[in-house]
């Protein structure tokens, strides 16, 4: 894929468990101001279109699209909101530039998870109302079902999942943006209280507030405006059949298909050799392993062993979630995928600070839409 569209600016705010000092609009504004400054653009003059990512039920306001233009500099401009993963929104923005209709487009996603008083009820609202919801089990049981089957089929152990938690929380200690950095042992995860067997509390990423804005530009404008444009090499997204009764509980097929689409576009045949690192969904510890296998970063059943060997640590052969992932940075609801992508951008620019990887040229970001979904999106970037 030729270099047609690049990320020329990124901005972010929050990434804390609580952000009581600002409203969601003020959080978005802070991220937007930084992204536009980083890109060297004036949103009122230069940005032609805006894509935001939001889900009405997590905002507590329906038709949330109406609430986004002011704080993004998007008043009286083309704006639309995508109800999906942050990377779905990113891809929509990318496609707008690719059509040639727009030269500069901004994308935004945020989380004010701390403002939702009944988050598990909101999650349950995504389940089928007729044949699943009346059973009244907390929807985290769905992660329990999947983890159980995945561990059984692949021979992966709870200890290996716990190592993912320890690794990501450790990485987060070196990332000033991360809210949940910690030095914890495998035993801490194994001994933390069971949420829905075999998923324990520490296997789950804790929620966080935050906002991310990125500015995308067509090649000519990108080269003109940016000294370090980060090029979009491939994108892909996929939705599996959602049914809890018939879905594949072992393999994240949506991730495999999304990645294949992105690899094809980027001309990548052997991802573990051609990519330098990956930032992938780790909403739950086992998800990082399951997604690694689906994304062909290793063979099926091998991810747990790689974590054991330290291959996915910051200093390892193939770092996974050097940012700390959602386990270390906090889960940003639908902004989580953009947080993964943000880290890929910072790494490729050489701006990741204390957790900077050396000699990285190509990275993958993968976002999963969370429970109870089987949808995800992948983006491959190069510097």
């Amino acid at each position: 894929m030729p270099k047609e569209v690049a990320i020329i600016g990124v901005g972010y705010a929050g990434f804390r468990a609580l952000t009581p000092e600002v409203s969601y609009k003020e959080l978005m504004y802070e991220a937007a101001v930084k992204a536009y400054e980083d890109a060297g653009v004036d949103p009122r003059r230069d940005i032609e279109s805006f894509v935001t990512v939001a889900e009405d039920f997590t905002e507590g306001t329906s038709i949330f699209d109406e609430y986004v233009p002011d704080q993004l500099g998007a008043v009286l401009k083309p704006v639309h909101t995508i109800s999906g993963e942050g990377l779905h929104g990113f891809i929509a923005a990318y496609l707008q530039v690719l059509t040639g209709a727009m030269d500069i487009v901004a994308v935004e996603a945020h989380s004010k998870a701390s403002n939702i008083l009944t988050p598990d009820e909101i999650m349950a609202f995504a389940m089928d109302p007729v044949y699943n919801r009346p059973l009244r089990a907390n929807p985290h049981f769905i992660a329990g079902l999947e983890m159980n089957r995945y561990l059984c089929e692949t021979g992966t152990t709870r200890e290996q999942c716990a190592l993912v938690v320890a690794k990501n929380k450790h990485n987060a200690l070196y990332n000033p943006l991360a809210a949940y950095g910690a030095s914890i042992a495998v035993e801490d995860v194994l001994e933390s209280e069971m949420v829905s067997y075999p998923l324990s509390r520490l296997d789950m990423s804790p929620r966080a507030d935050g906002a991310i804005v990125m500015v995308l530009a067509a090649r000519e404008r990108a080269e003109e405006l940016s000294d370090i444009p980060i090029w979009i090499r491939g994108v892909g997204w996929c939705n599996d059949s959602f049914s809890l009764e018939n879905r594949d509980w072992t393999n994240a097929i949506y991730a495999a298909r999304a990645a294949e689409m992105a690899y094809r576009m980027a001309g990548i045949r052997t991802p573990w050799q051609e990519l330098d690192f990956a930032e992938i969904d780790d909403t739950f510890s086992y998800k990082e392993l399951q997604h690694m296998e689906a994304l062909r970063l290793c063979r099926p059943g091998e991810a747990g062993l790689l974590v054991e060997d330290g291959a996915t640590e910051i200093g390892g052969e193939f770092p996974v979630n050097p940012s700390g992932g959602s386990l270390g940075m906090g889960h940003l609801l639908d902004a989580s995928g953009l947080a993964r992508l943000l880290e890929v951008v910072l790494q490729l620019r050489g701006e990741a600070g204390q957790h900077q990887l050396s000699d990285v040229e190509t990275g993958l970001a993968f976002g999963w839409r969370g429970l109870p979904t089987t949808s995800g999106a992948a983006v491959i970037l190069s510097n």
Partner: protein, 169 residues
């Protein structure tokens, strides 16, 4: 509907068909609760309402004074420059007389929602509230109205700290 069909076969549904569960259905009552952080601008707005004052913000760039306040100017995309206390009276920009409740039940006494251009704010900038102490037939666009506040002890820092706006001469 084609005119050729003269008779419609079938039986209409009665409420009893549902209560006796002859017709099957599933009900769900969502428990969706939120507590939104007011933040810098709306936090101050609410705190001032509690004190019996209306506050707005001013952008020196486009020279607009707006209410409710925000920390940024949506037109200029820059931070607002200053807080400005506004009057608690203004002019009715537009109003409606609402004769139905939320469940579409008729109201004996209609509600009169109105956009009130607050004195001290820029032309066309106002807050949405209700009108009171006025015969619905007497309400006019351009009418001058003034806030009727709850007593200080009852104010909690909410838009309802103003009971309604009433006409003044």
């Amino acid at each position: 509907m084609t005119a050729k069909i003269k008779e419609f076969p079938g039986v209409g549904l009665r409420e009893s068909d549902f209560t006796e569960r002859k017709v099957l259905f599933t009900e769900w009552k969502p428990d969706a609760r939120y507590a939104w952080d007011a933040g810098v601008a709306i936090g101050r707005y609410l705190a001032e309402l509690k004190e019996g004052r209306i506050i707005g913000v001013r952008c020196h760039h486009c020279r607009r004074t707006v209410v409710p306040p925000r920390i940024f100017c949506e037109w200029c995309f820059r931070p607002m420059d200053e807080w400005v206390y506004l009057e608690d009276h203004g002019v009715v920009n537009t109003f409606s007389i609402c004769y139905v409740q939320w469940d579409m039940e008729r109201l004996e006494e209609p509600l009169i929602p109105a956009v009130i251009e607050i004195a001290g704010a820029s032309k066309g900038v106002g807050i949405l509230h209700l009108l009171g102490e006025v015969d619905p037939r007497e309400v006019k666009i351009g009418m001058k109205v003034k806030a009727v506040w709850k007593p200080a002890a009852e104010r909690i820092g909410a838009i309802t700290d103003i009971r309604y706006f009433k006409p003044i001469n």
